[in-house]
Symmetry: C2
Subunit: 236 residues, 2 copies
């Protein structure tokens, strides 16, 4: 769903979709790309880790990390001593913060696509790629909101059912914000796209769906007496 | 398992572990890092997509992509028209190929770690980060081997049970090789690391393991008559 400059809709195109840019229009398989915000939010909210890319000494670095979303903002966190946080200016005065150019990518692998031809083997997946500048969060209120979002991203409802960070923990934690602005989603669904002349070849073809969900909870062995499994875990 | 220069073992240290470098020694949680080759191979072989990072116009780009492994070489592929492949010099003469600096990262999320304190919430994960220069594969034999590895990475045994790429498909496909040389693995396992003073707080704590495996196969609707599910899928 691309926005256009000629829309006569009275609602802002920004309310429903991101504007495509040179970086977010793929060179290949353009039909798999989407700029629809709801699609982007669903993919982001369903994943547990993102892959955060940044440039260090001219070379790319890609690290897996937790994240949280609050509306059109993504938050990642880390020790104030970690490399990307230091590079983003954690601990510096806000006005001196140059930010850190990042690319934040989230991917779900949904199924293995087995075609008759080796060439058409593929994956069913959903991904979101976000380009932008991550900046440290210095406002204490926003920092608390971001940390709650990070915990609630692991399990919705969990932030309210755990001990909030104390002053020492807050001081040791740096939070970066990345605004959702230059964003695209991409997805592949369905069966293999075999060539017509391959249809009668003697190879099984189809999709192997990857299993999703959770296995049985493993409670800590030292749980205080009388603590029951909370509803938000039963409902997972 | 770090190698040392003072080992008296008669086997080469390179045979069992990668030598740590400035880029592969983490600034935080060093005890979670490993340079053991078998550990690295297991993590790489069990995942389906990697996140490939590179630098374009000075900014980081992180894209999910399939990969395959042959010994100490990783292979990624793509259309000769795709950005990272073009940037790596696909289509150029080999002697002019400058390669593409990349960071290739693979991550498994194994469980959600719910601590009594928000601060100690975490994930159980296993990841591998590879730094290096990806170069296009021009040798036809190596290219075929790489493409077989890419298909066999999806499902072991599948390359031999599908139609091999023909000349036109081979010409349309670029393959990049990344040598496993500057590599580290990182993992977190086990329960939450709550602080001693938090042990009696009235919050459930423990681990929510993520389910792994496969759901029921979805055969193509137009399978030729008499095609049965192959053993390598039954054994998945």
């Amino acid at each position: 769903m691309q926005t256009t400059q000629t829309t006569t809709d009275t609602t802002s195109p920004d309310s429903a979709a991101y504007a495509p840019t040179d970086r977010t229009v793929p060179t290949r398989a353009k039909e798999r790309a989407s700029y629809d915000k709801e699609t982007v939010f669903q993919i982001l909210d369903e994943s547990y880790v993102c892959h955060l890319g940044f440039v260090r000494d001219g070379a790319p670095v890609v690290l897996p990390t937790l994240y949280g979303r609050v509306g059109d903002h993504l938050y990642v966190h880390g020790s104030t001593g970690s490399r990307p946080l230091r590079m983003a200016g954690a601990g510096q005065e806000e006005q001196a913060d140059p930010g850190l150019q990042v690319c934040l990518t989230v991917t779900h692998v949904d199924g293995l696509v087995l075609a008759r031809s080796a060439f058409h083997h593929s994956m069913n997946y959903r991904s979101v790629v976000v380009h932008g500048t991550a900046r440290q969060v210095t406002d204490p209120e926003e920092k608390r909101t971001a940390l709650d979002a990070l915990v609630d991203h692991i399990v919705p409802g969990r932030a309210a059912d755990s001990r909030p960070a104390n002053a020492k923990e807050l001081a040791a934690t740096a939070v970066l914000r990345l605004d959702l602005d230059e964003v695209s989603a991409k997805a592949r669904t369905g069966g293999p796209n075999d060539d017509p002349e391959d249809m009668d070849l003697p190879y099984w073809s189809g999709v192997v769906p990857l299993r999703k969900g959770y296995d049985a909870l493993i409670p800590s062995t030292d749980l205080a007496p009388g603590i029951e499994v909370p509803d938000y875990l039963i409902e997972l």
